[in-house]
């Protein structure tokens, strides 16, 4: 989707780097931690992918997408979560987690802001959908599909309100404020009578349409259409995130993550872009929440605990911070493992907590270490440079001969 234009480091640079390593270690900005990091399996894949011509990449992508759409119908025997859990519903859950991870990746991965209470935005989206569609709510009712964009807007507003006081300060404050907010939203849902605490909202709306037998297409028990809807949204979000990544917005985020002061000095309005990252992330979280509320059909205060929020962070970290394909993978994996291996489902928090620590300590780039591509037309330029330097070295070798 996005890993289409990017460089492989030039051979020349590698050669000249050894000599100056002593000094550049001191001067080089950013993470020196993974300088010695091995490429690994996924790294090799990523290089192969870069070398492919564009048409071929598209072909592969289309095949992957088609397979993804076909999964609930095929229900492949080993992959399937059945008999323990319904496979289409599991797929839906995976898609929602993937969507959440892609949204959270904008905040954590791109802008380097640690949002530990992402569940709060998910909750805001869920409650927006529930309170505007459920018959249990005194509010005006609107069609379910309208609540999805509305959930984005409401979550973004909450994100901005929370972001403005905290994003001016150092990153740790954001982490603890979001962590607090993640817990507070649940308490508020309990304390405020209008949000109905544990009683919650039944019969949350669904997209229109009925099958021949009169049963709604988007029935709560039927995961397949919900999965397809979420997968489609996920693909759109991935494309949009890719567009942002390869623009001045994405570059500003990465610059902020790498060195905020230097970014400001280079003319990046850092505060503005941090608020944007936080708000856009919140928007995706709100949208995921609305989808989740629609499929489950029931929203109450028990569904949004801070623990799940940490699982979201684990999904991003697992996939590889800053890498949206990795985020999809991480999100899906975090949802999939407890559903597939029901024997260890009880230990999932412990497992992902340990994974979080181990990955950060030993493999901070995650399972799929891929660098984000930040230029919309970078590929041609890099290609050109490679050819020129190849030509030069060809001339040199000729002379030597």
């Amino acid at each position: 989707m996005s890993t289409t234009d990017g460089p492989t480091p030039l051979p020349g640079a590698k050669a000249s780097q050894a000599a100056a390593d002593r000094q550049s270690k001191k001067g080089g900005a950013g993470t020196s931690a993974d300088a010695t990091h091995k490429k690994g399996l996924f790294g090799a894949w990523s290089e192969k992918w870069q070398a492919m011509p564009r048409q071929k990449q598209w072909l592969y992508l289309i095949v992957v997408v088609l397979i993804a759409y076909a999964l609930p119908v095929i229900n492949p025997p080993i992959l399937s979560t059945e008999p323990g859990n319904d496979f289409p519903l599991a797929l839906f859950s995976m898609a929602v987690y993937a969507l959440v991870a892609v949204g959270l990746n904008i905040v954590i991965g791109y802008a380097g802001l640690l949002d530990l209470g992402y569940i709060a935005f998910f909750a805001v989206g869920s409650y927006t959908a529930a309170m505007l569609t459920s018959p249990d709510s005194p509010f005006v009712k609107i069609p379910y599909l309208w609540t999805i964009p509305l959930a984005i807007v409401v979550a973004m507003c909450v994100g901005v309100i929370l972001g403005i006081p905290t994003l001016r300060l150092r990153g740790d404050y954001l982490a603890i404020v979001t962590l607090g907010f993640g817990e507070i939203i649940r308490i508020l849902a309990t304390l405020i009578p209008a949000m109905k605490g544990q009683v919650g909202f039944q019969n949350v709306g669904r997209p229109p349409g009925e099958g021949a037998d009169g049963i709604p297409i988007f029935a709560n028990s039927n995961g397949t259409p919900w999965y397809w809807l979420t997968l489609t949204i996920l693909i759109i979000v991935l494309f949009l995130a890719g567009n942002l990544e390869r623009s001045r917005v994405g570059r500003s985020w990465i610059a902020i993550r790498e060195d905020e002061d230097a970014a400001e000095t280079m003319g990046v309005p850092t505060f503005k872009y941090k608020v944007w990252a936080f708000a856009l992330g919140a928007g995706v979280g709100g949208m995921s929440g609305a989808l989740f509320a629609g499929q489950v059909g029931f929203v109450n205060n028990q569904k949004f605990d801070i623990v799940t929020s940490i699982l979201f962070v684990a999904a991003v970290v697992l996939g590889g911070v800053g890498n949206k394909v990795g985020a999809v993978f991480g999100g899906a994996l975090v949802a999939y493992i407890p559903l597939r291996f029901t024997a260890i489902a009880e230990y999932k928090y412990l497992i992902f907590g340990i994974a979080l620590m181990l990955i950060m300590i030993y493999r901070p780039k995650g399972l799929i270490p891929a660098r984000q591509r930040l230029l919309a037309y970078g590929q041609q330029a890099y290609q050109r440079v490679r050819e020129t330097s190849a030509k030069k070295s060809a001339v040199v070798t000729e002379k030597e001969v």
Partner: protein
């Protein structure tokens, strides 16, 4: 004072291609032997006027106190359009403090910094950059996980106007700006001599290339004044020689340069005028060969052999 005006070669008749003519990146990389063409590609919208003598930056009575400590005491000087001004002084003289006050890192206790008559102090740092003042860092601060080209394009973005929505939907302006930023970014990398490393991560570049990349990134913001904070730190004599040539070329392309540097040879060899600070006060402000003879300056540097001034 007459000496310095001779020293500024005014580039005459710079070939000016039509504005907005977007050559593909390929051609630029190949036509890079001509310096003027490079400068033109790097900042096509720029007016190359080097009316030397016209005041570009005025530092007026700048005072900075940290608690009881006076780091900068009522310092005033001007930077004229098209010159290379050296800012020197012994360690702790307040050079970097002055620099940081100009670029918005510190808020001055009193005094003003004016760029073309517009007051800079009090502005946010990113706005100062957009107003036309760019800097490099003494200890290199590149975006390590970005390629060299991407680093430069972050600088170019300071002049871009694409909104978040524009980028999200890839509106025409975004595409236009992205295309031109590749060309201009490559041209700038070529200009500082590291185009072949365009695709390498900044943190993997050699030390010298990182210094050059910082200059390219600062130039990318299309500054009226380029501030270099000890750009030659850690360089060997040959690299210093190259750097001097580069700084001169930058000036010849119509940029104004403020240079903080320890290396006397470099400062004397490249600047048009020098301001000397000692203990937060300005003690001299003149052309290099006068500064060299100034007894106050010599005594400020007492202990350093006379040779260093040559």
């Amino acid at each position: 004072m007459g000496a310095h005006s001779e020293k500024v070669p005014v580039p005459e008749e710079v070939p000016v291609p039509a504005h907005g003519s977007h050559k593909p990146a390929i051609e630029i990389v190949e036509s890079l032997d001509v310096d003027e063409a490079v400068a033109e590609a790097a900042a096509p919208e720029r007016d190359i006027d080097v009316a030397v003598g016209d005041d570009l930056v005025e530092v007026k009575n700048l005072t900075i106190k940290f608690g009881g400590l006076v780091a900068l005491d009522n310092v005033s000087f001007t930077i004229r359009r098209g010159e290379i001004l050296g800012l020197i002084g012994p360690n702790g003289a307040g050079k970097t403090t002055c620099f940081n006050a100009m670029t918005g890192v510190y808020k001055p206790t009193s005094g003003q910094v004016l760029l073309e008559g517009r007051q800079l102090n009090g502005m946010k740092q990113h706005k100062i950059t957009r107003a036309g003042l760019a800097r490099t860092f003494q200890n290199i601060r590149l975006f390590g996980e970005m390629t060299a080209l991407e680093n430069v394009v972050v600088g170019l973005d300071a002049r871009h106007k694409t909104s978040v929505v524009g980028a999200l939907l890839r509106l025409p302006r975004h595409q236009r700006e992205e295309k031109s930023s590749i060309e201009r970014g490559m041209a700038l990398l070529e200009f500082v001599g590291i185009a072949e490393h365009a695709g390498a991560l900044a943190r993997n570049l050699s030390y010298g290339s990182q210094r050059r990349l910082e200059i390219a990134r600062a130039l990318a913001t299309d500054p009226k004044l380029l501030c270099l904070d000890e750009p030659a730190a850690g360089f060997n004599p040959a690299e210093k020689e190259d750097l001097m040539a580069l700084i001169r070329t930058i000036r010849d392309d119509g940029y104004t340069v403020l240079l903080i540097e320890h290396d006397m040879k470099l400062v004397m060899g490249v600047t048009d005028r020098i301001v000397v600070l000692e203990f937060g006060k300005k003690i001299a402000d003149d052309v290099p060969h006068v500064i060299r003879e100034d007894p106050k300056v010599v005594s400020a540097y007492l202990g350093e052999p006379e040779d260093d001034f040559a």
